[in-house]
């Protein structure tokens, strides 16, 4: 029964996609079946796989950097209340502005290629991880720290046994949001300043109006994002349910 609702949702989405295809026709999009067939062909093409690996490599680097930097910034700002209060509006403003506006600066600094893609993905992903981490540390229930003091916990034991478990649910939520944004950032980086990767292929297909290719690459990305997000959401919900927050 656990799988019934997601399966039903997938069937409904496929039906909507098919209906939209009937309504809009080949010019606007390709059918679900044709898209899946095209994706299978592409995955079997040895020239396509390096593009997938390029994107995957750029994204993983960006994601890891976003998480590490986000955690470092979030911990620093969460631990020092005044710095956090000064930095929070700046971070929120950075979170709100379209990061594409920063792209020319990134290109000037890193040039066209992998470093620019990684930098763009990192910039997109780092802010939610930092914001959620900062708030998680700020919101640790003071009575937990008082309990740790009563037990005379060492700093290491306090971090390991109180701070980390107390902040983990909120940090995982930040990582989940950061994951989606780092993926978007990496692809945007590839679309506007790269010669390899799925974003580059997407841009190329768009300029040639190759609808089956656009749809096949998009489907691959959606599948990847959906699978990882489902896994992260599962961890997120498990942690929150345990702490009674959901």
């Amino acid at each position: 029964m656990k799988w019934r609702d997601p399966l039903l949702l997938i069937v409904v989405l496929l039906l909507l996609w098919q209906a939209l295809y009937f309504f809009a026709g080949d010019i606007a999009l390709s059918s679900p079946l044709a898209t899946m067939r095209r994706l299978a062909q592409m995955l079997g093409d040895p020239r396509f796989v390096p593009h997938v690996l390029e994107t995957l490599s750029a994204f993983l680097q960006a994601f890891v950097l976003a998480v590490l930097l986000g955690l470092a910034i979030g911990i620093a700002l969460g631990a020092h209340r005044l710095t956090g209060e000064v930095a929070e509006p700046i971070l929120v403003a950075l979170y709100s502005i379209p990061k594409v506006t920063l792209y020319p600066i990134i290109l000037l600094i890193f040039g066209i290629g992998m470093p620019a893609k990684v930098a763009f993905g990192t910039i997109q992903g780092v802010v939610p991880v930092a914001l959620f981490t900062m708030n998680a540390i700020r919101n640790v229930n003071p009575v937990f720290n008082r309990t740790a003091r009563v037990q005379n916990l060492s700093s290491i034991a306090w971090v390991r046994d109180v701070l980390v478990p107390a902040t983990l649910p909120e940090i995982v939520t930040g990582i989940r949001v950061g994951f989606s944004l780092a993926l978007i950032g990496t692809l945007l980086g590839e679309m506007f300043g790269a010669q390899r990767g799925l974003g580059f292929l997407l841009m190329q297909a768009m300029s040639l109006h190759n609808m089956p290719n656009i749809m096949a690459v998009t489907l691959l990305l959606v599948l990847f994002a959906a699978i990882v997000n489902t896994a992260l959401l599962g961890i997120d919900r498990r942690l929150r349910r345990r702490s009674g927050a959901a």
Binding site: N141, T147, V150, A157, S243, G244
Partner: protein
Amino acid sequence: MTGAEGGDAHVVLSAITRVYEGRPLDLALARGEFFAVVGPSGCGKSTLLDVIAGLARPTSGTVVFEGARVEGRVPDGVGVVFQEDASFPWLTVHDNIAFGLKYTSVAADEALARVDYAIAFMGLTDFRTAYPAQLSGGMRQRVCIARTLVQKPRLILLDEPFGALDQQTRLLMGDELLRLWRETGATVFLITHALDEAAMLSDRIGVMSARPGRFLEIMETHWPRTRDSTIVGNDDFGRLTSRLWTQLRGESIRALGHAGAVGVNQ
């Protein structure tokens, strides 16, 4: 008036000031004594507990526990139960209760035996693998009390531990606390808002004034050590509660800042 009887002082507070900007506060608790503090909101009861525990430093004066000065850290042998729910939501009931023992030299099998005993004693046997989110407020507080007690503290500091519970549960928890107190022989220092709770549980009750807090009176209850919540029907209990309220009514009104409005003669 503020000294422990018989000279066997377990905890001694000398000339303590902090928020109590008025007269310095002196108090001595006898070993194995059950001492309660009542007073209006904001009079500094919880701060007094923090000072005794070593969680806050007094502005002046000293706290001595078992002959050693309390300075900046909670001494071994002191357990604290807070008013707020301090159970860790990420740990099961069993692991919450065992939490403090991890950092002591208690052997693993002894620790396990103590936790099992506390779980049974607190009526949590069916919930040992449950998380706090699955428990009622009263059960969570029992988990916190058990977590403190498995470490066998010689001084137990309780900051309104039953504040969030309904009256029936409070009375029953009071019985459990008295049973624990008798079994362990620990000295208990209880902060409470509830006058009946103080009257039922304590050997002595310190009545604090509105800020700046000081002891207006320390009352002796003269209850037998084997008491339980059935004493609430006792005439002496009624007289004691009434006397406590007589002392505190004016102070509580003063703390609320309403004296003029309700026309109290002080």
